[in-house]
Symmetry: D2
Subunit: 355 residues, 4 copies
């Protein structure tokens, strides 16, 4: 697979495939404010032929752009990178063509799992291009930055797994104290459920509501298992329970891990602070400070903190991200920046809006 | 302590102390629709002297009632029962006087813990009347119904502990499979934080927000420890992490418990269905159905379900209640009904409002 | 058309046609708590064949009931009354059959306008059964109570028109001071938009949103024109602008009417208080008190108040209702009670839930 | 009063007085992302002495900054401009001192009304420095741009008046068709009510709520009267009714104005499009498109549209802004940019976040 050639003198030309779903739309928003990239092509079967700016008046695009149908993507030659925001399994047919001419950042789950058998267990199908699983790079930016810089096919992590894996990875330095299992209780805003209208996603149903779903078997568990193993070197058992919060954006994950031996909260804290020192998008909060989804809303930040329950020797990690930014489009752009030698933070420095 | 004498021919005369906080106000709402009870006295220092109906136009009271200051409660002789909704520790001075003339249902935490040392550890003070802890009955209705019928001082359970203890108690019949620890992740609406205005409770701060708080040391943990021990007979370790959801009402608790041995989800389900057969206010949902706070909003119901993660052998219990009804005023009235020989469901049968 | 025969000894047997939409579901909720009526039949094409209680676990029905397809309604003989909650224009085919055997309360707009030409102008079709428009009674209960008692085909008013007409009718007694036009600015919760999923009704789109729609030509304007004329005796010009609030339930209408001559706020207030004296479901609030949708949420109440801007001589009427109760199912049941000689308030006395 | 001297080579040094209220905090957010300005000083009595970044972790400040008490502002010499976000009437004592050394942009109402008598009627006090009313410039940017460029004391318009005046001013070109009165129905998010905790602002009270307030006598009416007169040249009567929407941000104003003569919607539309042609922050939407607060949330945009009800000859203007940006901090920065010769759009070009 050819290496990306990019001079850095012109803006990166971005094609967004699936631009009217929430992750695609968020990619449009971020790129439209990016100092070194521009959207040159956008697809949407729903709005095919319509002016992007008219359909989405909240965007300020620098040029007039009409939505194209997805099928036009394969033949498009004017992009340096395709950012794919299609549902899982929908881009296998076009992936070789796209990679022949450009880099690809795939926001779907299609290349996230290194082990093809995981697709059989968790996604219930045989992966059609296992060879690509070998070359694809898992884009958890802060952890795999070196690999990402050389990626041509980038598998952008899932939203829940991003919130979990960023919180867990620093424990690699204190892995001898980890007893397990890793018990993950995550809560997500409704944008995580996508933009296709279904009754339970209606405002009237969702307001005043809070509910659990998929308490066993959620597909994102597979990515968490993969990253927990990458962290500790062995298969610490992982269980995952997702919930829906009545907010549009945001994920908060509460992770409980029984620990053992002579370990203190302050020692673990030092590990975390050291692990993420110098990172622009991960902030370990001061002791006792609670992570809040509102502090990261609309931003590429991950805030986290840790608490040790001394009575039970259970370590609690709490992390928050915006599911559409650090959990999707933002991390995709962060990865794209690395792949093209652009400053990693370009286009991603907005403050959260509060209140 | 004298036994309650109540003929059953007249409505139970209820005095609500602390009637303008959320739990007190909810008590007012429920009693005002109760076929066999009526509010005869209501205190509020904030609105002292004002007409209840004018301050709260959503109520339809059968008689004109003025708010009295709390201090007037002690001398009031016209009540069969005082329902106390004061902050913790605020009624110790008046409790003996009240009990001399009437029954007391205390919605605060003052008499919930049987062991006075638990107050020192979790509430950080020495309990001033440990003798009352011995006579007070813990009002988790479905579990302690027989004792409650004879109670004169009823300690109404906390909102979080109600959601947890109702979900855990049926496991007493399969306790040999329980490995532990009991890892509780609860989520509550903002009414649980009370009606005293603080900046983080403002609408503009809370909307679009989701946050964790008190990840270690929350006082309700003590009640959960007590009930988990009452369930299993030994101190299974318990850890509790509360969160705030942007809804006014509702608690959803997700409880993860590692299990061991040859136990299946369907076998556990049978235990639950059998345990709560015939109960009016606890519903074990069909397999695979997700509990939702909206289904119990404004009602005295507890919906629950259970899920066994076969991969990790972790049992997940999920329960939902309305924190102000089954978690406070509703359970208080349910207990009052039992104490006075009124039909247990009286005043408590409204359907949830949806959407 | 035969008069309703109803002994009053048995519960009124209610068939709900269109029982899984929001108005139908609300009818189910209210009837299931009604002391003198019971649901004996319920249709839903979406859930045909399914157990009502399982689809909607928030309901507590007294008997097991399966959803039937709409087409079964015509042949059903076991009902005293059909409450129709179908979309506009969907019941014309079955209406004669239903009326042959039972009374009908129609929550749709099909018989609300006395003048068939209004259907051509506002609904854009020729009314197929103009003779029924003559016999149908417009069910604005507090205004047309006498007629309603004798109705066999009851046209239940629209949600917006109910909030407006109840606020305007008392002005009949001070009509000489009315200059006009009547400028109506209404705001409704999302349940008013129904339960069919559309993108703009999704939680993620609607939360944090507020928007206007149909600023000219909204169909409910026709009912308002009809009732304004019924109030004043002449065609005072009426304009209507609806908006969507991010709440599930509630309508607040702000009505501005330029007045003339020597009229004061207190004099108008006397008119209102006198007009609604003794009504159970309409409350004129004390001077200066603001109507709030939360005070009427889930109830059949209409709260209103009036304010005279002395600088501009513009009278402002503000009214609030729950669009699904007083604006649909609640008023339908109130009308049904009158039609069957049941106490008018039966099944409709719940307090609003706050917070 | 000395003219502003600013070289344009260094960033504008901004002191924010009242930086922990919502308007002040929003000023901090905007300036922290501004390419040609920086916050050098920030006051808050509530957080005096605390690190700004720690109190508000959502901000990414370029330098460490501690909150100062308000009283320190007068002596501070390092600012080119003070942006005041204090409550009304709280900065009269310091204004002369501040103006002696720097420019002032005042977000309060203290200098918005040109006529001192208006303060007596609407604010109920005698203005202490009527001479400053003569030199202060009313900062409705798109309308008074030329004057603003030379301002030293800038009175930033109120949030409601901004939404109204921007919608009304283009009518100056068709004023002969205006009959009046101007009937304004505005709806605002809760951040407009400020950050001081009061019971009715609590999340549990405000969620699911919608209410009217101050239906007569709201102070912002005075600014609207002033701008309506500036538009038409005569005192067209103005009435204003504000409401509270359960969102954090956003104002939508619906303005009804009876018109007369031979005027069409399309002719009025041409006037609007021509009036705002080339403006960066005002967008007249295409015919039939509804303004939505979500499209302008977090941005300095004003979207508007107009609709003519042909039946009643009532013109309806609908405008939306973010009350904290175009309605406060954003317009303040836009004005500051003009005053200092910085590009008008600097720091203000973010897209709205959707969903």
């Amino acid at each position: 697979m050819a290496v990306i050639k990019y001079s850095g003198k012109k803006p990166v030309r971005v094609a967004v495939v699936g631009a009217s779903g929430y992750a695609g739309l968020e990619t449009m928003r971020i790129i439209s404010g990016h100092p070194a990239a521009e959207v040159v092509f956008a697809t949407s079967n729903t709005y095919s032929g319509k002016d992007v700016q008219e359909v989405f008046p909240q965007l300020n695009l620098s040029r007039k752009l009409l939505f194209q149908p997805h099928e036009k993507a394969e033949a498009f030659r004017g992009a340096d990178v395709f950012i794919l925001s299609l549902p899982h399994g929908k881009s296998y047919d076009m992936i070789d063509s796209l990679l022949a001419h450009a880099a690809v950042v795939d926001i779907s789950a299609d290349y996230r799992l290194a082990d093809p058998e995981m697709y059989e267990k968790w996604y219930d199908y045989v992966h059609p291009c296992p060879d690509l699983l070998e070359t694809a790079i898992y884009g958890l930016t802060e952890i795999y930055r070196k690999l990402i810089k050389k990626a041509r096919l980038l598998a952008n992590p899932g939203c829940y797994p991003t919130s979990v894996a960023l919180a867990v990875h620093p424990l690699e330095n204190v892995s001898e104290y980890i007893k397990g299992p890793v018990i993950i209780d995550s809560k997500s805003g409704y944008s995580g459920a996508g933009r296709s209208p279904k009754p339970h996603l209606l405002f009237s149903e969702a307001v005043d509501e809070f509910t659990v779903y998929a308490p066993t078997g959620h597909r994102h568990t597979s990515e968490m298992i993969q990253e927990v193993k990458n962290t500790f070197g062995w298969n610490v058992p992982v269980t995952f329970t997702p919930h829906l919060i009545p907010v549009a954006r945001g994920i908060l994950s509460t992770i409980c891990i029984p620990v053992q031996g002579d370990i203190s909260e302050s020692k673990i804290r030092e590990t975390y602070e050291s692990f993420y020192r110098g990172e622009s998008f991960v902030k370990v909060l001061p002791a006792g400070r609670m992570p809040s989804i509102k502090h990261v809303r609309g931003t590429n930040m991950c805030h986290m903190n840790l608490f040790l329950d001394e009575d039970t020797k259970i370590l609690k990690l709490v992390s928050v991200i915006d599911n559409l930014v650090k959990g999707a489009a933002g991390q995709a752009v962060q990865n794209m920046n690395l792949m093209f030698g652009v400053r990693e933070t370009a286009g991603l420095l907005a403050n959260a809006i509060m209140p």
